[in-house]
């Protein structure tokens, strides 16, 4: 006979008993669970049992195997009824045969206790007064707060109890043997700080909230813009202009009232982040700029908090986890030179399809849950590089960089003066008349067939400046020029920090010639 089975027809205890007989056995112990006519003061008329059969059978088999090994019994089995049951009917049967009675009793007790505790089975009671309600199995009930339990026993209206069950029911994730009630309790006790509530942050926030992570912080200083919605569908058209953190926190609170959601409507900075992260167990980095990513890295490393990083570029994404272990690489181990925003990437704002950050954000949520739950996952340091156009996923093994001391560093030298970096001119002639030396940093092939940059004497491709192959005389005053003003702004800031007198042509050549 199967070690564990479900039956939709009445259980036949005599037949099961016969299947366990063995000439070497001197003892047999059995337990029968029956449908009784009352529960918590209510008169019960009949019962319905439901189970996720595939998962439940696997877990049930595991329990019976454990009992056989643990107590050294000869044979053991358990059968659970599902469907509609009347008062007095047999709901569950356990039988154990063994050489002696002691181990037979012990194994029988172990099996019924573990089955009630671990196997995902739901019981719906139909009461004499016509009312009904789902009674969660033990493993689900444990995740409920005492207040919720209180409500359960008092709110007997059918709709009320169903609505309530939906609001707090983590059954489908608790049905995973690796999660269970213990895992759900771990999530409830956990806290996560999410930096950025944009394309990556929205799915991270939604899934962590829905999973029942106890406390979630949302750090974002932006307001919702119309151009956000295609990849941040947590927000609505009517939210445009509202602070992201506040709107996200409202929506998430509606999604799961169990979770404490904290809105931090400020951009993460070296001043506020250490104080914030001290109050959370883990950080998920979902910003859109290098400065924030490296800041989060430095603070996570110094406070020994796990951090989950992701970034996207057009159809691609990179995913990396930092765990506070001595041999584990941090973001700086991989990128010793933190890139200045604007210098890497294309010259115009990179485009993106919504599902790309959504996919990476979902993976970040998955990584965070794995860490919080302590799932038996492979946690080897790596960067996962995903190409969603070609549908490739490469896992690149990373290791601790011996040259990286895991110490926080100032990201970039900040320009000492606060004079505006960007200058606006109606046309190139006006820019020339400013007295500044114009420096065209476009690559040679960008200049090959245009008339836009005519009259500019100095051509230093950005790639050569970055590679250290080209240097500007330090005593000049420069107006840096590129196609759209993105790279020139980054370079002007970089040069200014090094003591140069440098400005960027706002809007680039596209702006002055348009």
């Amino acid at each position: 006979m199967q070690p564990f089975a479900f039956s939709e027809v009445p259980l036949d205890a005599a037949a099961y008993r016969a299947a366990l007989t063995d000439p070497a056995c001197g003892g047999y112990a059995s337990f029968e669970g029956w449908v009784r006519d009352h529960n918590e003061g209510k008169r019960v008329q009949r019962l319905e049992y439901e189970a996720f059969a595939a998962l439940a059978v696997r877990e049930g088999e595991r329990i019976v195997t454990e009992a056989i090994e643990k107590f050294g019994v000869t044979r053991a089995a358990c059968v659970h009824r599902i469907g509609d049951l009347r008062i007095g009917e047999l709901a569950v049967w356990v039988g154990v045969s063994a050489p002696h009675r002691g181990e037979a009793f012990a194994a029988c007790r172990y099996i019924i206790d573990e089955v009630k505790h671990r196997v995902p089975i739901w019981k719906k009671e139909h009461y004499v007064d016509g009312d009904s309600g789902w009674v969660n199995c033990e493993r689900c009930a444990q995740a409920h707060s005492p207040e919720a339990e209180q409500q359960d026993t008092h709110g007997h209206g059918r709709e009320h109890s169903l609505a309530h069950a939906h609001a707090t029911d983590y059954a489908r994730q608790m049905a995973l043997p690796e999660v269970g009630a213990a895992g759900q309790a771990r999530l409830r006790a956990a806290s996560v700080l999410v930096i950025g509530a944009g394309g990556l942050g929205v799915p991270v926030l939604q899934y962590l909230t829905a999973a029942g992570v106890g406390r979630i912080g949302i750090a974002d200083g932006d307001v919702i813009e119309a151009s956000n919605l295609h990849r941040q569908p947590l927000y609505h058209v009517a939210d445009i202009g509202q602070p992201k953190a506040a709107v996200a926190s409202r929506r998430l609170q509606d999604l799961n009232p169990d979770v404490t959601v904290e809105a931090l409507s400020e951009r993460a900075s070296a001043a506020n982040l250490p104080g914030w992260l001290q109050r959370y167990d883990l950080v998920v980095e979902c910003s859109d700029n290098f400065a924030t990513k490296f800041l989060v890295n430095d603070v996570a490393v110094s406070l020994a908090r796990p951090a989950v990083f992701a970034s996207v570029y057009q159809y691609e994404g990179q995913l990396q986890v930092y765990l506070p272990r001595a041999e584990w690489p941090c973001l700086r181990c991989l990128w010793p030179e933190a890139p200045r925003d604007g210098l890497v990437g294309n010259c115009a704002e990179a485009g993106v399809l919504g599902p790309v950050p959504a996919a990476l954000g979902a993976l970040q949520a998955m990584q965070a849950l794995k860490i919080l739950l302590g799932l038996p996952a492979e946690h080897a340091p790596a960067v996962h590089v995903l190409d969603l156009l070609g549908m490739h996923w490469r896992t690149l093994k990373a290791s601790r960089n011996p040259g990286c001391d895991h110490a926080p560093r100032a990201l970039f030298a900040v320009p000492a003066d606060t004079e505006a970096l960007e200058l606006e001119y109606p046309d190139l002639a006006a820019a020339h008349a400013s007295g500044l030396t114009l420096v065209d940093i476009r690559e040679p092939w960008e200049r090959a067939d245009d008339a836009e940059g005519q009259g500019i004497q100095v051509h230093l491709p950005l790639s050569e400046i970055l590679a250290g192959a080209a240097v500007l005389p330090p005593d000049g005053r420069y107006l840096i020029v590129c196609a759209h003003g993105v790279r020139s702004l980054a370079l002007a800031e970089h040069l200014r920090a090094q003591g140069y007198s440098a400005y960027s042509l706002a809007g680039g050549l596209a702006g002055v010639t348009a």
Partner: protein
């Protein structure tokens, strides 16, 4: 004179954009990823200097001076920040 090796290269992010392809297989005399990058940088007019990239050979991040073997799979990755 070093013998030519057949190397499979993958490009990501802005490198993929500038190369106009996500991968290619080339015969090269380059002995290290550093030499290989200089070679393809010229061919594809990459704007990023090597110092801003990382390289992985056979799915493991490595030093730019790691000797290349025939049949190696080389991945050049720039850092990306979008979110």
């Amino acid at each position: 004179m070093t013998a030519a090796r057949l190397i499979r290269i993958q490009y990501f992010a802005v490198l993929r954009e500038q190369a106009g392809r996500s991968e290619e297989q080339i015969e090269t005399a380059a002995a290290t990823p550093a030499e290989l990058y200089e070679q393809v940088r010229t061919a594809h007019r990459f704007t990023l200097p090597r110092a801003m990239l990382r390289v992985a050979v056979n799915d493991e991040f490595c030093d730019w001076s790691t000797p290349l073997q025939p049949g190696d799979r080389v991945v050049f990755i720039p850092p990306v920040a979008g979110g």
